[in-house]
Symmetry: none
Subunit: 133 residues, 4 copies
């Protein structure tokens, strides 16, 4: 995950968040779960900094969006407590796995601060930078 | 959050706790979740020290009382596992967000050691120091 | 260590700090190193919150003032790296062991935010609450 | 610390690092040590991610550049082991305290990945965004 790509994704996410009039934190991690770029919008609650990081980590560590992970790692799911591994993961949407056009895992993006629906939508817009439709 | 205000809130909380014949811990944090003042009443179980700190942090980090946070971070809520972020948060009542009369977030107070009902009531009494009714 | 005693020590420390025109954090812990009371003066750097806690812990965990501990836990001392135990301790002055008039260990007080000399002096004034000269 | 300012500082730091042909990580934190923006240049060793964060935290938590902090927290300094507080701090240069033109603390920037000399120089160039000479 190059910084130029991560920065472009964050720019796209910020523009979409402004359009939706929400304040979010955005984290982009590489395929090994190490942070590449991060931004906190003015007014976002301080607690969502860590949530955006954990969403991105969750997606890349288990090769699935955090929304999907939520079904697995739930008291009624097949791997309840999986969310307690790796220093704490997030069992709800907003962390998106990123793949190149060739299907290779490139990293993940985590968005937090708005409704889960908005967080996911913002992440999807940003992900298009990597794999334009 | 000035120390004089935090101390006055702790005094008010201690007086209310004595009236209710309960022993609690009280933590006041500023708007960035850093502690300003703390007190542990004689006889409070040692475990509630950290609970009072985490209740205050929960409220200020997510701009809502920990009682409200509990509904969001519940297995059936929209953000299950949110309580695992930020070093561990508390999904039950007793952490109250504090705002000035102008509506600006000033910090939070966390009360723990009695029943959740009593903890919340004590926190509310203390909060009046900041925004007298 | 009763809260009434810890609070009186913090009051005495605050008064002395104001007299010296310095802004400090003060932590009082009991004989088992658990916090009883804490206060952060307006303007104290945020980093000294943790320092005041660690100074108090250092003193009570090793039954000596942190100033004395500093001679032991120094690269040239007899127990270099001792400062890395117990979650990190402080090898400089400002943590004072507290004993009752009978010589029984009652806890410790940690003062941080001013010069080490001032921190120690403030701690000594506060300690007199427990053992008046 | 607004995101627009933090982003402009990171842009300035990246440009200076490219000019010096070095790969660094840059972290900008607000006055309460919470991250606002972060970037990792392609090729920077993974270990320096955390170093850049800790350099920024060190500067803002103790109201001094990490280069100055290094003299205090040195085995021969007046506060040896201070670097063990607050989750671990950095006793070498590259963390710069940021103040507004009015002298108010605005946050800090941490640069890591090149020589300490280069890290500091890059941080200084970035800091000019906040207080142009």
């Amino acid at each position: 995950m190059k910084l130029s790509v991560a920065s472009a994704m964050i720019e796209a996410a910020l523009a979409e968040a402004e359009k939706r009039k929400v304040a979010v934190c955005i984290t982009v991690v590489d395929a090994a779960a190490w942070p590449v770029a991060f931004a906190r919008m003015d007014g976002a609650p301080l607690g969502v900094i860590d949530v955006s990081i954990k969403k991105a980590k969750t997606a890349v560590l288990f090769h699935m969006d955090s929304e999907t992970f939520a079904k697995v790692a739930h008291p009624n799911g097949e791997a309840y407590s999986l969310e307690n591994t790796n220093g704490g993961l997030t069992s709800f949407g907003g962390g998106l796995l990123l793949k190149t056009a060739d299907g290779v895992i490139a990293g993940a993006i985590g968005v937090s601060g708005a409704s889960t629906e908005d967080d996911i939508a913002i992440g999807r817009i940003a992900a298009r930078v990597l794999t334009p439709a």
